[in-house]
Amino acid sequence: MTAIDAPLPARARSRAWAKLRRNPAAMVGAVIVVVFVVLALAAPILPMASPTATDWGAIRQPPSAAHWLGTDEIGRDIFSRMIWGARASLMAGVVSVAIAVVIGVPLGLIAGYFGGWTDSVIARCTDALLAMPFLILAIALAAFLGPSLTNAMIAIGLSAVPIFIRLTRGQVLSVKTEDYVEGARAIGLGHLAIMAAYILPNVIPPILVQATLTVATAIIAEASLSFLGLGQQPPAPSWGSMLNTARNFMSQAPWMAVWPGVAIFLVVMGFNLMGDGLRDALDPREH
């Protein structure tokens, strides 16, 4: 960069990274998430039964050497369905947050940077969207769009948009009066260049933290929608729909209700630990 100071210099980034690595809770979170991501990616090559293969001779079997986590009501291997279910959950978490970021961050940038009427209109729309509780809006959207994993991801993503608009807008408001932005304006750079090169890099850290925490929320939301039958459709596996089926066999096959919940809990906990760790590491007051 030129005389105008580079936003979030490399030194601050490496300091934040060093701090994150020293945070054991964040590292535990990262390990949990990495394990789930690797398992989800490796699902097609792992030596295990097909997640949709039924075995009528082995229905509702408790955990054993043949079926590590037992089988479900039509003899499908729960371990295999859990690993394949991780793909749906992680994909839903990441894709819906990506939708929210891609729509929310530019709108927040525009609202905060230009101010005035543009800001008022975007801020009122954000308030209105935030007035509808996240999950209720996601359920309504998923209901109107039709039940499928793709529509669930769109519904969750759209419901999370206002969180990112509000966060970005707030950050832009505090950054846009900084000297380096004034400097960029003084040397005649256009709005788009200033927003892209001088404002956006400075608002990224809190967005990163929020995105990580929102992945956790989105995974629970996807599991909730699938639990209600509005997400992943059978026979494709998803943790939420596995729990929904398990409700009907609680006294005969309690293991069916345990493992998918453990998986959701662990992966959500992983993202929450990472998000909390990132927040502490990227907090400028701590430096």
């Binding site: 509808m132 509780p133 999950l135 909730s224 209700a257 959701i264």
Partner: protein, 315 residues
């Protein structure tokens, strides 16, 4: 104070109007022509024309919106396709059930979250703080429908202590009513307790470092008095505004909790409506939730202004 309240109400009006636009737009997301669905298998052209006229679908969309809004403002949220009852009536029937569940859940949340937050802040950096933080994080990470399933498995199926599902109205049998809602309220209260704990902790940490707390300690006051009388009374203020936020969480959480425990409340209504393709009810629930949320925000702002001595003095 009156002008402050009026100003806040004025600000809420455009938000409410935008909410109505979003809710109205929801029905336009429906794939295909809703009239064809309503007309049934035969798709009689005369029936289709009649339905289009009845629902004003031949009008421009903006006219449709204002017609719909006019009805909403008169309390007409449409008719349920399934029960043929007015949507508002259906919603009003369910509200007391969810209200009771919400009050009980909030009691759990306050009873667990606030003391845990205070303790965690006072004992910062000790094992107690770590345990409290871990418990709170677990509360935020555990899907409440799974917690519900586990509790049913343990408390109802294995131990037989509490009923696994169902609902008894409070006025018909108060004790039985509380018994049936004990588990659902705990499930719903867990995530709220976690949120309350984290906010109380961070508010208390800020307050415990302030000058007046140092002065109170220097005066030789007992630690309990310093924490509860000086620190907590100031630290609790921001938590009041949080209550509006928690209200949204409470309603969203109620959807799944009521589903698991078969409680005929507000949350169950939206799920049933989704499955019965009763879109007017879905729209009605979203609209009423949003209006209630905005009203709660307004109340929280007013309560904050009333409780904050600095704002009271400015009046």
């Amino acid at each position: 104070m009156l002008s402050f309240v009026l100003r806040r109400i004025l600000i809420a009006i455009p938000t409410l109007l935008l909410v109505s636009v979003f809710v109205f737009t929801l029905q336009k997301l429906l794939p295909g022509d809703p009239v064809l669905v309503m007309a049934g298998e035969e798709r009689d052209p005369e029936v289709i024309a009649f339905l289009r006229e009845q629902y004003r679908l031949n009008d421009p969309i903006i006219v449709q919106y204002f017609h719909w809004l006019g009805n909403v403002l008169q309390g007409d949220l449409g008719m349920s396709l399934r029960t043929r009852q007015p949507v508002l009536e259906l919603i009003l029937e369910r509200i007391p059930v969810t209200f009771q569940l919400a009050v009980m859940a909030m009691s759990f949340a306050v009873a667990i979250g606030i003391p845990m937050g205070i303790l965690s802040a006072v004992k910062k950096g000790t094992w107690l703080d770590y345990v409290a933080n871990f418990v709170a994080l677990s509360g935020l990470s555990i899907p409440n429908f799974w917690l519900g399933i586990l509790l049913i498995l343990l408390v109802s199926v294995n131990l037989g202590w509490l009923p696994a599902s169902g609902y008894v109205a409070f006025w018909s049998d108060p004790l039985r009513s509380i018994q049936t809602l004990l588990m659902p309220a705990f499930v719903l209260g867990t995530a709220l307790a976690a949120t309350l704990m984290r906010h109380t902790r961070s508010a208390m940490l800020g307050v415990l470092q302030s000058d007046y707390v140092r002065t109170a300690r220097a005066k030789g006051l007992r630690e309990r008095v310093v924490v509860m009388k000086h620190a907590f009374r100031n630290g609790v203020l921001p938590i009041v505004t949080l209550s509006a936020l928690l209200f949204g969480e409470l309603l969203a959480g109620a959807v799944l909790t009521e589903q698991i425990f078969s409680i005929p409340g507000f949350g169950r209504l939206i799920v049933d409506a989704v499955f019965n393709r009763d879109y007017a009810v879905v729209q009605g629930v979203v609209l009423v939730t949003a209006v209630a949320f905005i009203a709660m925000n307004l109340l929280a702002d007013v309560a904050y202004a009333l409780l904050n001595p600095r704002m009271r003095a400015a009046q």
